[in-house]
Amino acid sequence: MAKLEHNHQAPLTADRIDRNLKKAFHELATEPLPDRFSDLLDQLRKADLQKKDMR
């Protein structure tokens, strides 16, 4: 069983913390997205096209 030095920040510990956070962040970032975002982008795209047509 590994014992860590807690008095200073071991690079290995920082690395482990970051790895865990990266995984946590990745989990969140790859969750299914609500439709509202793709709907919104569609609306923005359509609004732009309409603007162009009006010119």
Binding site: M1, A2, K3, L4, H6, Q9, T13, A14, R16, I17, D18, R19, N20, L21, K22, K23, A24, F25, E27, L28, A29, T30, E31, L33, P34, R36, F37, S38, L40, L41, L44
Partner: protein
């Protein structure tokens, strides 16, 4: 005519939402924040420098939107239904689950500025320079915030459990529990 950079926005939605969750700690507020960010990015796309880091640009917009909203409301959004901790704790059950919650609770205890710096650099893969630009502070400030955040986590976890190495290994196991080994 080069490709419209706005077509690239979709690729960053997941990361934007994760960053929004880490700031707001509330899933409804996070989604609203992403929506505002998308509208601003879409309508100000000419301010994006082609070839530069779009994710960093979007994170900057999101962050500025968050803090200006917060100043307007003059109250902290503290309803923590969507924090990283809870998002992860609700993953499929596993014996690493409790430790993972400990880890993320410690993360949630960090001051906002430190949590944000560590989210960008440690979790988001931003360089110190990109994180500094996103937060509008000096590179040295980001480095020091990240250092203090990591040190606090080590301390918090040590006080709770005594074996940081063990704990983070369990966190990894817990987070990976969606993909059983056998």
């Amino acid at each position: 005519m080069t490709a419209d950079p706005r077509e690239e926005l979709t690729e960053h939605l997941g990361a934007l939402r994760a960053f929004a969750l880490s700031l707001t700690r509330n899933s409804a507020a996070a989604d609203d924040l992403v929506q505002d960010t998308l509208i601003k990015a879409w309508t100000n796309i000419e301010k994006f420098k082609p070839g530069s880091n779009m994710r960093a640009w979007l994170f900057t917009i999101l962050r500025n939107t968050f803090y200006s909203l917060r100043r307007k409301r003059k109250r902290e959004v503290e309803d923590a239904d969507g924090s990283l901790a809870l998002a992860l704790a609700s993953k499929p059950d596993h014996d690493g689950r409790l430790n993972m919650r400990d880890f993320m609770q410690a993360f949630d205890q960090l001051p906002d500025s430190q949590r944000e710096a560590l989210t960008l650099v440690g979790a988001g893969g931003f360089s110190y320079e990109e994180a500094a630009e996103t937060c509008g502070v000096a590179v040295g400030t980001i480095k020091s915030r990240v250092g203090r955040a990591r040190a606090s986590l080590v301390n918090l976890l040590h006080l709770k459990d005594g074996e940081t190495l063990e704990l983070t290994d369990s966190v990894t196991a817990g987070i990976l529990s969606k993909h059983p080994a056998a």
